[in-house]
Amino acid sequence: MRKLKRYASLYWLFLLQRFKVLMEYRVNFLIGASSTIFIQAASLMTVWVVMGQVPSLNGWTIDEIFMIYGLLTLAKSINHMFADNLWTLGHEYIRPGGFDRFLVRPINPLFHLLADRFCHDGIGNFLVGLVLVMRGFENLSIPWSLGNIAYLVLAVLAGGSIFIALNLITCVTSFWIMNSVPVTLAVFQTHEFTKYPLNIYGKMIGVAMTWLIPYGLASYYPASYLLGRDVGYMAWAMVPVAAVLLAAGYRFWLFGLKHYGGTGS
């Protein structure tokens, strides 16, 4: 408990430190935080144009698709804000040698890596996702019940954890290979599929995005649940899957760390 308190207060201090740095470069901060909103707007525009031509996609209306999209964006923004620094593990820490600094400080090195850089660009994503989901609740008359709100929070946190865990697993390869970004990118980019209902794809993609690279658990299934479409237990699968992936990711991280102890940078 004391440890948790210490880490929570340290995270807060690192966050403040990060914002002080960002305020040194105010224009950069504003551009970064808002740039994702423009990127999302362009992407949403595409959906809107396509859906203007077809009234429904395999039984899903544009409002419902925006709901899936919004849930995915919220989950992704959690990863973007709090775990974006994983991407830079290889090229900003291990290769230049800065990773050694983490190892001579009395805190968990993974915590240190994550806390080192809160990514403000994710704030834009978060806001876009939030607006889309709120709009979905209104337009699709989903009741703002306590149960639904709690489910929403759970889905976003678990979904965010799935994003973080998958990025962790692919980024840990930096301990062995020079550049892990292509590996991470290859896995990460598949989330694009899960901006749309999984039942519009062939069986393979649906299964892959549910069980192999389970980004679908963060978008399609929770959206279905909130919209009253019966997906059974799959509505809750994101929680255990996130827990298992996080545990596996952390184990893999420790394994990578052990390898680092053998070779150094």
Binding site: S9, E24, V104, R105, P106, G262
Partner: protein
């Protein structure tokens, strides 16, 4: 009871030997040809609390690899390390609380922020008590002259200012053992002096143990009572500086300035050797165990028209040069 114990420590890196060129790179990818590189080779030594030890050797001798094992960054391939009774690698976090590390060229400070912001957060990371922190900050500000630097972003600091700031950040949690990797590299004389003073003061007041790697002999002469010299991963000398000086100061040189150019057919005393014979200048090296400076000077003055002469004290630099070039290894072998 030693604070650092290094016992038969080794570190072997496995390298994928590549042939040159693109073809070689491909070959290494599919048919790796591993070779073992021994960076640290059965090293043993121990350090007592409060010692300042110079850990020296040429580039690639295994200094940084040793430091990385002492700090817990790397795991040994063989042998054992104990720092304050702990294994620094497997008990890394506990070890980290008691040590401080300066990595020569790499900063631990937040580049874009005022120094005080970095110090504040680092003090929190190490859980320094607020009252103690304030006290130390005052103390460090005075000895390292940080007052005006506290509000300056690190990116705007000069090299010397950065190193002073770095030292404050490294010692703010009052570590029992400090590893300093090239703390004075590229600094001017005044800053070097201040930094050495600070290290000495910390050592004197808190019994801080210091392991110092440096190529600057001034650092060693001013700070260290003891040096460990390593070469190719092995300890080739471990002892006080004075012993090295005696042992390798066996030879001394005298430079004579002569009035006439002719110096042919000089008869030199035993144990003496003419190392340079230029117009108006003679350099003679003699073995201190076999003859004396006055005998050499006397003999030369009888035979040549000596205008002036000077006797060179053996400095550590030339001794270290001798050692690096293999003199010590030969001696050890005998």
């Amino acid at each position: 009871m030693p604070i650092i114990e290094v016992d038969d420590l080794s570190k072997v890196f496995r390298l994928n030997q590549k042939e040159p060129g693109l073809r070689g790179a491909f070959k290494a990818l599919f048919k790796p040809n591993y070779t073992d590189k021994v960076a640290v080779d059965h090293l043993s030594f121990s350090v007592d609390p409060g010692e300042i030890v110079g850990y020296i050797g040429v580039n690639g001798a295994g200094k940084s690899t040793t430091i990385k094992m002492l700090t817990g960054i790397l795991a040994p391939s063989g042998g054992a390390v104990r720092v304050l009774g702990r294994d620094p690698h497997s008990q890394r976090v506990a070890n980290a609380r008691d040590i401080g590390v300066v990595f020569g060229q790499r900063t631990q400070l937040w580049w874009d922020l005022a120094l005080i912001e970095s110090l504040n957060l680092i003090a929190k990371i190490y859980e320094v008590e607020p009252a103690r922190y304030k006290q130390l900050l005052d103390q460090f500000s005075e000895t390292l002259e940080l007052d005006e630097l506290l509000k300056v972003p690190v990116r705007q600091m000069s090299l010397g200012q950065k190193m002073r700031a770095e030292l404050a950040a490294t010692l703010i949690h009052e570590p029992k053992v400090v590893y300093l990797d090239e703390p004075t590299i590229g600094l001017d004389v005044m800053v070097k002096e201040r930094i050495r003073e600070f290290i000495k003061q910390q050592n004197r007041e808190k019994q801080t143990t210091v392991i110092l790697t440096t190529h600057d002999l001034g650092d060693i002469e001013e700070l260290c009572q003891r040096v460990i010299i390593i070469d190719a991963g092995k300890v080739i000398y471990d002892g006080p500086i004075s012993t090295i000086k005696d042992r390798f100061g066996k030879y001394r040189t005298i430079t004579f300035e002569t009035g006439s150019a002719s110096t042919a057919g000089l008869a030199l005393p035993d144990g003496t050797e003419l190392v340079a014979n230029e117009p108006r200048k003679l350099v003679v090296r003699f073995d201190r165990t076999r003859t004396t400076a006055s005998q050499v000077a006397g003999a030369l003055m009888e035979q040549a028209d000596v205008v002036d002469f000077s006797l060179a004290e053996p400095d550590l630099e030339s001794i270290i040069k001798q050692i690096y070039s293999g003199a010590l290894r030969e001696e050890v072998a005998v």
